[in-house]
């Protein structure tokens, strides 16, 4: 798993051509102007989903992990708290669903804030729970994010 600010993105290009395409998309697109929806970067192999949504309480958010896609998550506006853990050490609450590319999990993890301009890369072993409120100084209510899905 990677946590960093977008200006440091070039260091991570060599994680793979899909990750490089995802990071370059985030660097070179006017994301503030981009409407919610799906944007293709490289067909089904690399595509972006732009979302604006209300943050939730940490206990209402769901732990998940993917198998077919790596998530590159970027905050455009707002601030969120994310949680992360090694997926193999978590308890499965719903078995992997191939169509949704998702396993639902529960357990304990670490937490960090993500602010506008920061990104996180979650690989298949990185269980994550995102989109929850931060506490200080003043919690944002909504967030605009881009999640770039990169085929493994």
């Amino acid at each position: 798993m990677v946590l960093d600010n977008i200006e440091n993105a070039p260091f991570y290009y060599k994680l793979g051509p899909g990750i490089e395409a995802a990071l370059k998309f985030l660097q070179n697109t006017d994301l503030e102007q981009l409407a919610p929806g799906r944007y293709e970067i490289d067909g089904d192999r690399v595509y972006a989903i732009v979302r604006e949504f209300e943050l939730t309480l940490r206990n209402d958010a769901q732990w998940k992990a993917h198998r077919k896609y790596i998530d590159v998550q970027y905050v455009v506006a707002g601030r969120e708290r994310i949680f992360f853990a090694h997926a193999p050490e978590m308890e499965v609450v719903r078995e992997y669903d191939d169509r949704e590319d998702k396993t639902l999990l529960q357990g304990k993890g670490n937490t960090q804030e993500r602010w506008a301009g920061s990104f996180a890369i979650f690989g298949p072993d990185d269980a994550h729970k995102t989109g929850t409120f931060t506490e200080f100084p003043r919690p944002a209510k909504t967030i605009k994010k881009v999640v770039v899905k990169v085929a493994v």
Partner: protein
């Protein structure tokens, strides 16, 4: 900043040749019973220190950052709490010392060591990579201060 289990470390080998050597060294060494001291990997470009020390109470954590070297921290025995914040989100507290490759910073970042929010518990088998942009607070106890064994690999910035 990278945090992952050592079993996934191969994914990061290609990011930087010296970082790849550091990760391979961590993967390929049997760490059980390894005595504290310096390990040679590739001269001054990549070397490691095995450390055993008692973790600090949370109130004694200090933000530090380096310029010439990337730090790879690997937990062998015992749990350690660390924290990360971008260098530019903090204030310089002790100016960069070239010889020691070390600067101290202060500020909250987004971290609260008292509640543990925004800090990361590093369990055995986990490694963390701090690049020069990544200020870090290390060696903090998870609950009561206990001894840990860890390896810090210094990787000269290419």
């Amino acid at each position: 900043m990278i945090i992952d289990h050592i079993r996934n470390s191969v994914r990061y080998d290609g990011l930087d040749e010296r970082l790849g050597k550091a990760l391979a060294f961590l993967r390929d060494t049997d760490w059980s019973g390894k005595a504290p001291g310096r390990c040679e990997i590739d001269g001054d470009d990549v070397y490691a220190h095995v450390q055993q020390f008692k973790l600090l109470p949370q109130s004694e954590g200090k933000w530090e950052a380096h310029r010439r070297y990337i730090d790879v921290h690997y937990a062998v025995e015992g749990k350690e709490r660390v924290a990360y914040a971008p260098v530019d989100s903090l204030e310089v507290y002790r100016a960069y010392d070239e010889a020691a490759d070390y600067m101290l910073l202060r500020g909250a970042g987004s971290t609260n060591v008292y509640t543990g929010e925004n800090t990361v518990v590093v369990n055995p088998g986990t490694f963390v990579v701090f690049r020069p942009e990544d200020a870090h607070m290390i060696g903090i106890a998870v609950d009561t201060p206990k001894p840990v064994t860890k390896v810090v690999v210094k990787v000269r910035v290419s």
